[in-house]
């Protein structure tokens, strides 16, 4: 067993090897990537908790170190599950990538190494260092996607910098105030801190990094463009793994720093600060859901859904209740594998059709049934329908909200859940169902290598939906470590004050229902298949099929809801324009066409300094 430090170093230097290997042979390099991430997954599964390693001197008197915690282990397992599966998918996918494939693989490993460090960092600044490595690596990958990704990458980096610098500011202020930065000592100091304002500042600023990364409400706008534009296979890792870094930091700021003990409760044991964060999560749920509904680009659609799911995670974590926190953590896992399923199936579709616009496709179920199955199970889990694992986590979150009497919040979460049916159905109907277009007649199903990770994920989500014990065990260990009352469960039965829940029963019920439906499907006469061109209106033949494609304006009936909706994207654009105009102003102030201007400034500076100062 090598040390974690060495593993991280292997990733960092492995990125160089990966670059050279991929340069020589695309497949070889990707296999290397997969082997490395798979080994890391194996390593993490076996890693013992409590192990600690010295890393480097940040300052002469401050030592950075790594420690394995249950929380970190849970998150890193989820991450590397995603990373390994995506890396396997990439083995075949990369063959179709015309340029900068070598750099893609190299940065992929760099990102993996960075996130490994994030999950095991024992102090604020070490975490920041690895965090920025991961951000940098992901920033470098994003612009390898389509045209819009160039701008998206910069937006992403700027937003991310905003969050991480707030984090850094808080970290330094802690270092300066207490002289320590390791999580344990900081939380002890924070417990004894007298100033409420300072505690607010610290928690909010540290959470800011997580809020940005997981796309929570005021800082979510980068997500649509970045997910929509980045390379297709990478989006899966981006949504499935990288945004979980954000959830990790949120978990740290809320649970590792014991917010419940630090602040007096406002309502039902939840402090005001957590309540605010819960509301941010709520807004994200609503916003993500409703904005997802009207997207025509399928990747951007699921990007908005990521915003909503980030909201669920935050709501779950912020309750700091035994079941709610467990639900949040479980949702981290669920959303990770859902992202992999959904985005990988999209990656296949885009690879084959060359577009990501929903209304340019249709009927792909006839050509790529396995991809369809992956997507279908993915969205079932996303919408939180049993027997998939997605149901369990959402149920746990709802349960907590109801139990705490947060009915508004619960209502919003329900609305979000219902809304998710609406949006996930759009790609389902527009891309996979309906009539196949002529230009797509000779499409092929994804290759075996691509299908393996997708189908394994499908199996995993159903399996864990029925038998969630392994994840629940991990979650219990995390909760024990953080001092939250651990979740009570017995393999397939989850106990809550509102009653218990047996996953096997539910599975059987659904299985029966499914069988009945299947029998009915067999019994009743089948629908007649028509070609897309086989339709006409008013006696005229259609020449522009796309216009009459039913995926065009799929939700036109609710489009009116969105008229003049306020958008933060517009706000941020306005801020950008504002900065540009300030830039113009400042440039005009400094840069003069004539030497007179410069002499003017010299005189003014003298006069101001002299008359103001003396």
């Amino acid at each position: 067993m090598i040390s974690i430090t060495n593993l991280i170093l292997v990733f960092l230097f492995g990125s160089l090897i990966s670059y050279l290997l991929t340069k020589a042979n695309k497949v070889l390099g990707s296999i290397f990537n997969f082997l490395l991430t798979a080994y890391a997954l194996y390593f993490l599964w076996n890693i013992e908790v409590g192990r600690s390693e010295k890393l480097f001197n940040i300052f002469s008197n401050v030592q950075g170190s790594l420690t394995v915690t249950n929380l970190g282990k849970f998150f890193s397992l989820v991450s590397f599950l995603v990373l390994a599966f995506v890396a396997f998918f990439v083995i075949d996918w990369i063959r179709f990538k015309p340029r900068s494939y070598a750099a893609f693989n190299a940065f992929y490993l760099l990102m993996a190494g960075g996130s490994l460090g994030v999950f095991f960092a024992n102090d604020l600044i070490t975490l920041y260092v690895f965090w920025e490595i991961a951000v940098l690596a992901s920033f470098l990958i994003i612009p390898m996607g389509d045209e819009s990704s160039k701008k998206a990458a910069v937006t992403y980096a700027v937003m991310s910098a905003l969050g991480s610098y707030m984090y850094l500011f808080a970290a330094f202020s802690i270092l300066n105030r207490y002289g320590v930065i390791s999580f344990k000592e900081v939380s002890i100091n924070l417990l004894n801190e007298a100033s409420i304002g300072y505690k607010w500042f610290v928690i909010l600023f540290i959470a800011a990094a997580g809020i940005v990364k997981s796309g929570i409400f005021p800082l979510h706008t980068w997500l649509r463009k970045a997910y929509g534009g980045s390379p297709d296979a990478f989006t899966a890792a981006f949504s499935g793994q990288l945004s979980k870094l954000g959830s990790y930091v949120l978990a740290i700021s809320l649970a590792v720093f014991p917010t419940v003990k630090m602040f007096s409760p406002l309502y039902q044991g939840v402090p005001t600060l957590n309540y605010i964060l819960i509301w941010l999560g709520n807004i994200s749920i609503i916003l993500g859901t409703f904005m997802a509904i009207r997207q025509n680009d399928m990747k951007q659609l699921i990007a908005y859904s990521s915003v909503a799911n980030g909201g669920y995670i935050l709501v779950g974590l912020a309750t700091l209740d035994s079941i709610g926190f467990a639900g949040g953590l479980f949702h981290v896992f669920n959303h990770a594998i859902i992202s992999v399923m959904v985005f990988l199936s999209f990656a296949v579709v885009i690879l084959r059709t060359g577009t990501s616009k929903i209304d340019e496709m249709g009927g792909l179920i006839w050509r790529m049934p396995m991809t369809f199955v992956t997507y279908l199970v993915g969205i079932i889990s996303l919408a939180g329908i049993p027997p998939t694992s997605g149901f369990i986590s959402k149920w746990m979150i709802f349960n907590t909200l109801v139990r705490h009497g947060m009915f508004v919040t619960a209502a919003i979460a329900f609305i979000g859940s219902v809304g998710s049916f609406l949006y996930v159905f759009r790609p389902l109907a527009g891309v996979f169902l309906g009539q196949l277009k002529k230009k797509h007649y000779d499409l092929k199903e994804a290759s075996i290598i691509m299908l393996i990770p997708m189908l394994l994920m499908v199996a995993l989500t159903v399996l864990l939906g029925v038998y969630p014990k392994p994840i629940l065990d991990l979650i219990v260990s995390v909760e024990t470590e953080l001092g939250i009352k651990p979740l009570e469960h017995a393999g397939t039965i989850i106990k809550t004050p509102l009653g218990s829940w047996n996953t096997i029963t539910v599975f059987i019920m659904f299985a029966v229902g499914f069988i009945i439906a299947f029998i009915l499907y067999l019994l009743f006469p089948k629908a007649k298949k028509v070609e897309l061109t086989n339709q006409y209106t008013g006696g005229e033949f259609l020449y522009n099929y796309d216009l009459y494609h039913y995926a065009t304006g799929f939700y036109r009936f609710i489009e009116r809801l969105y008229d003049k909706h306020p958008s933060f994207e517009k706000l941020y654009e306005m801020i950008g324009v504002f900065f540009k105009s300030i830039g113009d102003f400042v440039t005009g102030l400094i840069y003069k066409p004539s030497p007179s201007g410069y002499i003017f400034w010299i005189s003014i500076v003298i006069l101001i300094l002299y008359w103001v100062r003396w």
């Binding site: 066409p593 004539s594 007179s596 002499i599 003017f600 005189s603």
Partner: protein, 113 residues
Amino acid sequence: MVYYISFILIGIGIYGILTQKNLFKFLVSLTIIDTAINIFIISLGYIEGKDVPIYSKYTPVANFVDPLPQALVLTAIVIGVGTLALGASLLVRVYEKYETLEVEEIAVKEARK
């Protein structure tokens, strides 16, 4: 007294740079400021009733004004003329490039480029 002269001359030079639009005028103003500073420095070394700081038949023993500012001014004058020559040659080139010496016209041509 001489202080005021040099201060006013500095003021005039600054005023010239601030208001004039011809590139030559900047050099002229610069020279005025240089001269004014030189006068000011010399005046800081002047002592009433003392003599030129040179040992000679007329002043065999020391009864001199402060010689150091004079030495400094010697240096400053030469530096000033060096800068002026550089400025003049740059100005010739500017004229060749833009065919005008008016700052506004140059700015217009710069912007158009």
